[in-house]
């Protein structure tokens, strides 16, 4: 599955790991994450990510 990188802080969302602290289970593709999710490191919105 495609990994996505945060344009502001370079945090990489890996679908295999998800973001459990924000309620995103491992195995969740980026496209399926709710639009109000934010980067867990720097807090910018989901639309500031691009494919790695």
């Amino acid at each position: 599955m495609q990994r996505y990188v945060c344009l502001a802080c370079d945090y990489v969302y890996d679908p295999n790991e998800g973001d459990p602290d924000s309620g995103i289970e491992p195995g969740t593709p980026f496209e399926d994450i709710p639009d109000d999710w934010v980067c867990p490191v720097c807090g910018v919105s989901k639309d500031m990510f691009e494919p790695e």
Partner: protein, 394 residues
């Protein structure tokens, strides 16, 4: 600087730092800088937008006295960095009734960095407004111009946009507004290159927002104000685009001339192929000038002698900074010499992971260059030219 009227009941009340020559203990300021703050007065409220660097905060307080500010209702903070927020504690002490208006993230950072009391705030998040009696301030959060909490303040009825650091320039001048666009262009480009460039991919949205608002005046926290916003907005559109130019930045240094001889041969070979060359000697590099040249260049060449197995520390420094600034450079090459061995190519490559360069073949020479080494440098110049032609810029 004494208070200067912008419009009826709107003044610039900040300070000009004529002598400052270094920022962040890193960035040279050849033309000084200013810390811009603005005062608004309506029949009902008096509002200060941002403060100044703490060492000069008395000038701001003096300016407020000159304008006979007896009571301050609101202090808007567009940015928590201390050259703009650092005067907040002193202003709050002088005006105990004042409330700090900002977004939640900025509030958190002002508490962290300045220990502002948690109950001094009036929080306004993205899209929210503050009625100041006859005028409306509308707030637009704009993360990463250049910190996570940065925001713009839009004075709706006067069509003035207070953009914080965004669109600013480090320039100490007696001009309140731009009188000489050429002079400001370089200062604004330096500022963009040193501070804003890492986040350039996020700026398209902000420029679109500004276009939609249609300001008559843009007031940043550094440098002269823009009465013709198109000037700076067009410049930013150019700088943030993915378009690169037919330029090669050569960042090099040499200890006993072996590397320098190779670099000069390469420079000539590039010029012979009609490629523009921007040369920086890293012995005493001005990182601002280097950053400016990284804004547009298609190619970066790092050249260094080998020192204690790796690159000369000054070359590593340049690589580290270039990596942090994340310019749009597409092609890279490493050139150097060594006496007995080393891992310079590996170490410089490892330091520049953010740049995502297409690396051309390095030219590393044992000792002083010979005919076959100059031939390799010619081949490198030819490879750069080929890439520039493929990119449609040569």
């Amino acid at each position: 600087m004494n208070p200067r009227k912008i419009r009826d009941n709107i003044w610039a009340v900040g300070t000009i730092d004529w002598d400052r020559r270094l920022f962040d203990e890193l960035i040279p300021l050849p033309e000084g800088t200013s810390y811009n703050a603005y005062l608004l007065k309506t029949a009902e409220k008096t509002v200060l937008i941002d403060t100044v660097d703490p060492p000069v905060q008395d000038q701001l307080l003096h300016n407020l006295e000159l304008l006979e500010v007896e009571q301050l209702d609101y202090l808007v903070s567009n940015h928590a960095e201390q050259d703009h927020s650092g005067g907040i504690p002193a202003v709050l002490e002088r005006y105990p009734e004042a409330r700090v208006v900002t977004n939640p993230k900025c509030r958190e950072m002002l508490i962290d960095h300045l220990h502002i009391a948690e109950d001094r705030f009036e929080v306004r998040d993205n899209g929210e407004s503050l009625d100041i009696g006859g005028w409306t301030l509308q707030f637009h959060t704009a993360p990463f111009v250049h910190w996570p909490e940065t925001q713009f303040t839009w004075l709706v009825e006067e069509k003035i946009l207070f953009t914080g650091d965004f669109l600013g320039s480090h320039l100490a001048t007696s001009d309140l507004y731009i009188e000489n666009e050429a002079e400001v262009y370089v200062g604004a480009k330096r500022y963009y290159a040193e501070i804003m460039m890492p986040f350039r991919k996020m700026f398209g949205k902000y420029l679109d927002l500004i276009d939609d608002l249609g300001p008559e005046l843009i007031a940043s926290t550094h440098g002269p104000l823009y009465r013709h916003p198109a000037f700076i907005l067009d410049a930013y559109r150019d700088w943030i685009s993915d378009e690169v130019k037919n330029e090669a930045v050569i960042a090099y240094l040499s200890m006993h001339d072996s590397t320098a001889e190779m670099v000069h041969h390469l420079i000539n070979a590039l010029i012979d192929r009609d490629i523009r060359v921007k040369v920086h000697n890293l012995t005493d590099v001005d990182v601002g000038e280097l950053a400016i040249d990284l804004v547009d260049a298609a190619t970066l060449v790092l050249a260094s002698p080998t020192v204690l197995v790796g690159p000369h520390p000054s070359a590593a420094y340049a690589a580290l900074i270039a990596n942090a600034l994340k310019p749009k450079t597409r092609f890279g090459a490493i050139v150097g010499s060594y006496g007995w061995g080393g891992k310079m190519v590996e170490q410089l490559t490892a330091l520049t992971g953010n740049l995502k360069l297409e690396w051309l073949d390095p030219v590393m020479v044992k000792g002083k260059a010979r005919a076959e080494d100059f031939a390799s440098l010619e081949a490198l110049a030819e490879a750069v030219a080929a890439r520039h032609r493929e990119a449609g810029i040569l």
